[in-house]
């Protein structure tokens, strides 16, 4: 029944995986780290939300919102000849716009939870679908490129591309931004009062309200907005750093992979850098495996799922072991 229609050679597949992910400095910098950038940012978005008890599964939709804003601003802020006055400010505006629209998209879910008690697990997933359809409409309607041939937005002029982090590679400064964001998130969560409040609310909202006199609703709203902002920034960085345009499948499910990234990092912001790079290598390698050895790249998704389940099992096993010795 399951005689394979294509019979890829295992050695060939593994070689392709290695060469496409970690096998050369070029692969590491231009494939793995480029792929890791959106995963670190969306992984951070999920980690921060989960730490504060907000189950934001909507990073994908927030990513699309951010990507849309950056694609619009990137074109709007450049002149007809592609000349961009005040380039640094214009690029920053595109990134900030993406960040804000991402936060706004998450804000809808926050509002629905606060005002109507709608579970964010459900609302963020619905908002993902709405964002997908909205992008599909925009790139065929009001935002379609001028020749109206391809379902995508007008390509950004080169002045609106993020500068390279490593000259001659595909790696852009968005990666540095992602690492910086992780470090800041770690510091805020660990060493500041708002970070402390977020952790307390995540551990026990009732205890936070009664014993800690913490405004739980306010902390929850902040967590939603910051989470959405990071996912939106991921989208804006992807458009200005990698794709230079908005189109349908700009996110291959970053927002869902982000949950695996955050979990593998134990929801620790610094850990997200490492797990983001790990998943970046996995996906870059899988893409190379499909290209060069004909192995479906979707195998990476199975590996990701298996890793999450393994982490869950190990975690529960550890808790039981400790309980049995107590």
């Amino acid at each position: 029944m399951f005689a394979p229609a294509v019979g890829p050679d295992l050695g060939q597949a593994l070689a392709a995986f290695w060469h496409g992910s970690l096998g050369s400095p070029y692969a590491i910098v231009s494939a793995t780290l480029v792929r890791a950038t959106p995963l670190i940012l969306t992984g951070l978005a999920v980690a921060i939300a989960f730490r504060a008890g907000v189950l934001n599964i909507g990073a994908d939709g927030q990513f699309l919102a951010g990507a849309t804003a950056a694609a619009v601003l990137g074109v709007a802020l450049s002149g007809p000849t592609g000349h961009v006055p005040l380039r640094f400010l214009a690029l920053s505006a595109a990134l900030v716009g993406g960040t804000m629209l991402g936060a706004g998209w998450a804000g809808v879910a926050a509002w629905l939870r606060r005002r109507f008690g709608v579970l964010e697990v459900i609302s963020t997933i619905m908002l993902n679908f709405i964002a997908l359809e909205a992008v599909a409409y925009l790139v065929r309607g009001p935002l379609q490129e001028p020749s109206r041939v391809y379902p995508q937005t007008q390509a950004l002029p080169s002045a609106m591309h993020l500068p390279r982090l490593v000259p001659g590679s595909r790696l852009h400064i968005g990666f540095a931004l992602a690492v910086l964001a992780a470090v800041v998130a770690w510091w805020v969560l660990r060493s500041t009062a708002p970070g402390f409040r977020a952790r307390v609310v995540g551990a026990s909202p009732t205890a936070a309200a009664s014993a800690g006199r913490i405004d739980v609703a306010r902390v929850t709203l902040s967590a939603f907005l910051i989470s959405g902002a990071l996912a939106g920034l991921a989208g804006a960085v992807e458009v200005t750093g990698v794709t230079y345009a908005l189109y349908d499948n700009i996110s291959p499910g970053y927002g869902y992979t982000a949950i695996a990234v955050a979990l593998l990092a134990d929801l620790h912001p610094l850990g997200v850098i490492a797990s983001g790079i790990f998943f970046g290598a996995l996906e870059a390698g899988a893409a190379a495996m499909q290209r060069d050895a004909g192995v479906p790249a979707i195998v990476a998704t199975v590996v990701e799922a298996g890793l999450v389940l393994a982490v869950l099992a190990a975690e529960r096993g550890r808790i039981r072991f400790q309980a049995s010795r107590a």
Binding site: P4, V118, L119, I125, Y256, T301, L312
Partner: protein, 306 residues
């Protein structure tokens, strides 16, 4: 409204609602037992792939059996993590969805090649119910459907009765409301939750199977297209009640069918916007029904400390 578009609209409503109904009925049971299974999306796609494999080997009936089995198998993976190991249900569910989407995609490409070569299998033909199918307007839409749709109709009152009128149904709801009280009454919450998740896996698998065996006639990677997630929203929209879930599934089906109606009436509007309408309407419905506090979520939904 002219009769033809109206009948087409109703038929499209039922067609869209049927797979959602199966998945949502199962998820209703799961959530009444205090477990939210975000892995339902993976269960539905597993059912769709199972249907393809089974129908290719032994026809439509075999397809439904393998669809149910594939859905149940994936649901059991979730049950082990959520109900036995007491891991976080959202994270375990997300992993199971990734597993379902990834494994079916990989198996499909491995077995049938990257292109899939337009694999097509015969679909279940419609069987008109004598008498009822002749009713004006609603007859053909509601009662000239594939038999699996009638199974869906029948399940709604059956599950409602089971949930609210039997001891087993009471035990299920007790576990979802207060596991401690259930345990005091001699009910093992974990066993009940595992059973509920597994039964929901069968139903979700049939939902995915319906897509392949009664509608599309083939499999495509990711063809569940969010139906499992939507079913979870439908459960909340239906206020954790089988009858409510049926109504919510119909509402969602009708919202999706609007695009066919507008096409038939030759109203020009971007169709992607219509594709977004059901999701937006679901959010509005959730907000309204939550605000009115008409039936609330099981008290122990999502709890890991049993």
């Amino acid at each position: 409204m002219p009769t033809a578009p109206a009948a087409a609209f109703l038929a499209a409503t039922i067609r869209t609602a049927t797979p959602l109904l199966f998945a949502a009925l199962g998820e209703t049971l799961t959530e009444l037992a205090g477990v939210i299974n975000v892995g339902l999306e993976g269960v539905v796609i597993a059912g769709a792939f199972g249907a393809l494999v089974g129908a290719g080997a032994g026809g439509i009936a075999a397809g439904f059996v393998t669809a149910a089995a594939a859905g149940a198998a994936l649901a059991v993976v979730f049950a082990v993590f959520a109900a036995v190991l007491r891991a976080d249900q959202i994270i375990a569910g997300t992993a199971v969805t990734l597993l379902g989407l990834g494994a079916t995609g990989a198996l499909y490409e491995w077995r049938y090649g990257a292109t899939g070569a337009a694999l097509s299998i015969p679909t279940m033909s419609a069987a008109a119910l004598p008498g009822l199918a002749r009713l004006p307007l609603v007859g053909p839409a509601l009662f000239d459907q594939p038999p699996v749709t009638y199974v869906g109709y029948a399940l709604v009152p059956l599950l409602w009765w089971w949930t609210y009128r039997t001891h087993a149904g009471l035990a299920l709801r007790a576990v979802g409301e207060s596991p401690e009280a259930a345990r005091a009454a001699g009910i093992d919450p974990r066993t009940v939750q595992c059973a509920a998740v597994a039964v929901a896996g069968v139903l979700g698998g049939i939902g995915g199977g319906t897509l392949v065996l009664a509608q599309v006639g083939t499999f495509a990677e990711g063809m569940s297209a969010g139906r499992g997630f939507i079913a979870i929203a439908i459960v909340a929209l239906g206020r954790w009640n089988p009858a409510g879930a049926a109504l919510a599934a119909l509402l969602f089906g009708a919202a999706s069918a609007l695009q066919f109606l507008f096409q038939a009436l030759d109203w020009r509007a971007p169709y992607q916007l219509f594709l977004a309408v059901p999701y937006a309407l679901t959010l509005v419905g959730l907000a309204l029904s939550s605000a009115r506090r008409r039936g609330t979520a099981p008290a122990a939904l999502g709890r890991t400390d049993l």
